[in-house]
Amino acid sequence: MKEYKPKIVCFLCKWCTSAGADLAGTSRLKYPASILPIRVMCSSRIDPMFVVKAFLNGADGVFIGGCHPGDCHYHEGNYHTRRRFAMLTKVFDTLGLDSKRLKLSWISASEGTKFAKVSNEYTEKIKSYGENPSKWNVFL
Amino acid sequence: MNLPYYPGCTLKANAENFEDSAIKVMEILGYQLNEMKDWVCCGTVFSMTTDDLMLQLASIRNLLRAEEQNLNELVVLCSMCYNTLQRAKKFITEDEEHLNKVNDLMYKENILYEGTVDIVHLLTVLKDRITFDKIKEKVKKPLSSLKIGGYYGCLLVRPKEFAIDDFEDPSIIEDLFSSLGAESIAFPYRLECCGAYQTITKKDVTIKRTYEIINSARRAGCEALVTSCPLCAFNLDQRQKETAEEFIEFETMPVFYFTELMSVALGGGWDKSWSKMHYVDPRPILKEKRLI
């Protein structure tokens, strides 16, 4: 049987997490190819709709990476993200989507090792949940 | 209150005075040291070799016994046993493969080892659970004007994961003896190795160590040393005989287990039988300070 390889859509803010991911690369750290990056200017740019669409389209997990609280390049963007993420998990539960498959993490430009660690752990977690069931249940 | 307690072999032989005084002191402080059942030797130095899992088994079996007896911790007096048990526990809990192998080797045991037993040194119990302030309140005969050097050796503070205090600059023994009314002196050689088992094969090594350690303590003003390790006590105390033969100007110094002096301070007194366990007779200094 072919090994199950999850698809994880990752929204990375340009200033911290994407730079952290670059550092993971420069340091030649390893993580699974299930991590699929989309670079945005700030985590606050991420519309909850993107996340819902990703799930309905068949992504197995969505990861959002931003600067540490207090370190946002745009002063307070990640606070918006934090609040929005809390709301989004509620919405997911209400819609019958699996909010355990969402992840928000603060990873700074110097935390290449953290990016690799989170990527590895999160992929393992998603693997343990198996394939996203909601992609067969399009109801919106 | 009961504390599950692992004595180790030496406390039943050469260091009976250590066990005796510890039990007495803990009784005064309202605790009972309950000896665990079916314990065996901790394995001592053999378990410090890293290449053979077999050599860890003695330690692990003790922890397994404790698990069987539903004990969640073991209070240990001997520094060597403390260190050995801690190392063995770390060795198998930090790596699942080690744990599985050890359990495979012990297939005749009734249960599998899980690694749930905590190993606690008596000094830690005194400091964190009883607290030195409480001990101070119970002092009947303050060790006033007695200048004490706390000798840690290596086993209480290395490796740093199991150090009972700051591993570069510990103060737990000094703090304890200050609360007993003594003058604690942190002398430079208090963290040096005593020579340990070299005492059997290369006696001259330990003699030199003893000479340096005791002299360092004397230069710093100490009148007596305290330790929590029977091997250190042997090297520092019994080997003073050979040291005095080797170095003619050498002056001897009494070496106590910390519990012996605690007993004196807390009103438990000095048991006559303890004296013969010492090479350097501790009675003159105790008499001089009017403690016995």
Binding site: D22, L29, V40, N57, H73 | D169
Partner: protein, 650 residues
């Protein structure tokens, strides 16, 4: 539809090693929108760029995707290539298949599949990219420099000489930094104060430099070319215009505190001038120790002051200045000895750190440059120097090499030997790193001429016995344990970012590495710029370095700033928010979300507007818009959703 060219870089074997570029080229050739696809060994090289330029003409491309390294490295390189061909630079997308793909995966099949997806997302985004022109904004031709050490001073003088106004902010009452505390400098042994003080005077005299000493940067707002800085000047309580520096006040002051300038080895009063050559040359009252505050218990200095320059009621003053660029030169502090239990936590007076020993060596120091030890004034006959104190110890202290300690230690030993001819210096070292011009020669000369004894190994413990410091160490070359009864020990403490800079740096949201040093935009090619545009770095705030390197970096930062200021106006990224007036209901949520005040309500049209110049393009206002009226140029919802689709289908 756009005709898009895809160029896949091998980056030698960096990409090709884990990604099957031939297969990738084949797979993507048929992808809708891809008019041309090619792979090449180094896209960023001139032949690589020429390939792009030629292909643009040959295949009439109007968009380019380069699949290569991170966009932070070569996005502008390829944008410039498009510029040359008169194609708008926003018709370029970088697919990061190196840092975020080939370098982090081992499995060729997996990595190739992921690279395929990454390139497709770039193509999808590019399909909807608009051609944009940079927004031009006015440029304030003034510069703020934070920190008045040698880095800040050098940068200030260079820029001021270039004809632009400089605001120099220093937190201490005098500029000079740590360099003014040094005795002589390696490898030429010229006196630090002699080369430093003329520069300090020049700063004070320069008509283009506005000096704020005893001041702190509270906040900086705005964007490159158009910053506003708020500066707090702490009260000195002595009016510099009235003060004649007669020094009648210090003899009457009853309060004695350790001198910062002498690293605690001499005393100063609560009213003091940090050191004789202080710039500005004014007395300051240290409110923490002065008895004239809350309540007034003493007015002796005020009574003694003939020109009546002292005013205890002075309050902090606040200034707002407009500036176009910022140089951060906040400097270093020594790693504290108090963290090192093995070396006695700093409790032994005869165990000194490097800066304290500099003060002992200095002619203006507490001993007037004569060699006496602090505890009893004895001339030390045997000194042990310990290199890498606190450095290169990832388990317990600083993980990195502090770079200057090898050299300053050999200098210390040499200067000591010049003062005490029959003295014996010993140096414990791990390695001797003397990689600088004439550094190795300096070390060799010291070893052969000055009889310095080196031990390769670390010191395990230092303790005091009688009046000697006993040093226990090991010589790893002979595997012998070494015990030295020394009169004095000097710890070559490592260096760390300045203690008080942390607050400023986090206020400015500048990126730092795991050790707190500022991160440069590129470790090799953009070493004096911050990733945050308009901010430049100089000196040890960016990493440990010696004086020549600090001065070079300061001048480099100044050159970068001068290049920026030579423009008449500044171009601002056009990746900003826009409003679809048809959809906007004027609810104003975006206005309250914008951190830059770039959003306003148009009271007549009843819609929200965007001030392009103020917008930094974070996109926070877009995701809060309930009617999807707000969009971000070239990063619209549609573009992101198309990228999401590429990743989620399959």
């Amino acid at each position: 539809m756009k005709r898009i060219g895809v160029f896949i870089c091998h980056c030698g074997i960096n990409i090709k090693g884990t990604i099957d570029v031939e297969k990738l080229t084949e797979e993507l050739a048929e992808y809708p929108g891809v008019a041309y696809i090619e792979n090449y060994i180094f896209m960023c090289s001139e032949p690589g760029q020429k390939l792009i330029r030629d292909t643009i003409v040959e295949h009439k491309l109007d968009g380019v995707v380069v699949a290569a390294c991170s966009p932070t490295l070569h996005e502008t390189t390829f944008q410039d290539a498009l510029d040359e061909m008169n194609i708008n630079r926003h018709q370029l997308e970088i697919a990061n298949i190196r840092e975020q793909c080939s370098w982090v995966h081992d499995d060729i099949e997996e990595a190739t599949r992921k690279a395929n997806l990454i390139i497709k997302t770039a193509v999808e985004k590019l399909k909807l990219n608009e051609s944009l022109i940079p927004i031009s904004a006015p440029l304030t031709k003034r510069v703020l420099i934070i920190g008045g050490g040698i880095a800040g001073i050098q940068a200030a003088l260079d820029i001021a000489d270039g004809g632009y106004e400089v605001i120099l902010v220093e937190k201490e009452p005098s500029i000079g930094g740590h360099m003014i505390q040094l005795s002589e400098t390696f490898p030429t042994l010229d006196c630090s104060q002699c080369i430093m003080t003329p520069k300090m005077v020049a700063v004070n005299k320069h008509k283009n430099i506005k000096l704020f000493a005893n001041s702190e940067v509270e906040s900086i707002e705005g964007f490159v070319g158009n910053f506003k800085v708020n500066i707090k000047r702490k009260p000195q309580y002595v009016d510099p215009d009235k003060c004649t520096i007669c020094d009648d006040c210090t003899p009457v002051c009853p309060v004695v505190v350790p001198s910062e300038y002498d690293e605690g080895m001499s005393w100063r009063k609560a009213i003091y001038i940090p050191f004789p050559q202080s710039i500005p040359a004014t007395f300051t009252i240290d409110t923490e120790n002065c008895l004239g505050f809350n309540p007034i218990a003493c007015t002796k200095c005020s009574d003694a002051c003939e020109p009546d320059a002292i005013d205890y009621d002075k309050k902090p003053e606040y200034f707002e200045e407009e500036i176009g660029a910022v140089i951060v030169a906040t400097g270093f502090d020594l790693y504290p000895v108090e963290n090192m239990a093995e070396y006695g936590y700093g409790k032994y007076p005869d165990v000194l750190d490097g800066l304290q020993f500099e003060r002992i060596l200095s002619a203006t120091g507490p001993t007037g440059g004569e060699m006496h030890r602090p505890s009893d004034g004895k001339v030390p006959k045997e000194i042990v120097f310990i290199q890498c104190s606190g450095s290169r110890d990832p388990e317990r202290h600083l993980p990195y090499c502090s770079r200057i300690c090898c050299m300053y230690t050999i200098k210390h030993a040499k200067l000591y030997k010049h003062k005490v001819h029959d003295g014996q210096p010993y140096i414990f070292y791990i390695d001797i790193r003397s990689g600088g011009k004439r550094y190795e020669e300096f070390v060799q000369q010291a070893v052969s001429e000055d009889g310095i004894v080196y031990f390769r190994g670390k010191v395990a413990r230092i303790y005091k016995e009688a009046d000697k410091m006993i040093v226990h160490g090991i010589d790893t070359l002979t595997s012998k344990k070494i015990e030295i009864k020394a009169d004095m020990v000097v710890l070559a403490m490592g260096i760390k970012p300045n203690n008080s800079a942390e607050k400023v740096i986090s206020n400015l949201k500048l990126n730092t590495d795991e050790n707190g040093f500022l991160i440069e935009a590129h470790p090799k090619l953009r070493p004096v710029e911050s990733l945050q545009s308009g901010f430049y770095l100089a000196g040890t705030a960016q990493g440990p370095k010696d004086i020549p390197d600090t001065v070079s970096q300061a001048s480099a930062a100044a050159a970068k700033v001068l290049a920026l200021l030579s423009n008449d106006e500044i171009s601002h990224s056009p990746i900003v928010a826009i409003v679809n007036e048809e959809l906007c209901s004027g609810c104003g949520i975006c206005v309250s979300t914008c951190p830059y005040g770039a959003r306003e309500l148009d009271e007549i049209k009843k819609i929200a507007t965007v001030n392009d110049v103020l917008c930094e393009g974070c996109g926070a206002c877009i995701s809060v818009c309930p009617s999807s009226a707000a969009q971000q140029k070239n990063l619209t919802d549609e573009q992101i959703l198309n990228m999401v689709k590429i990743y989620s289908y399959l």
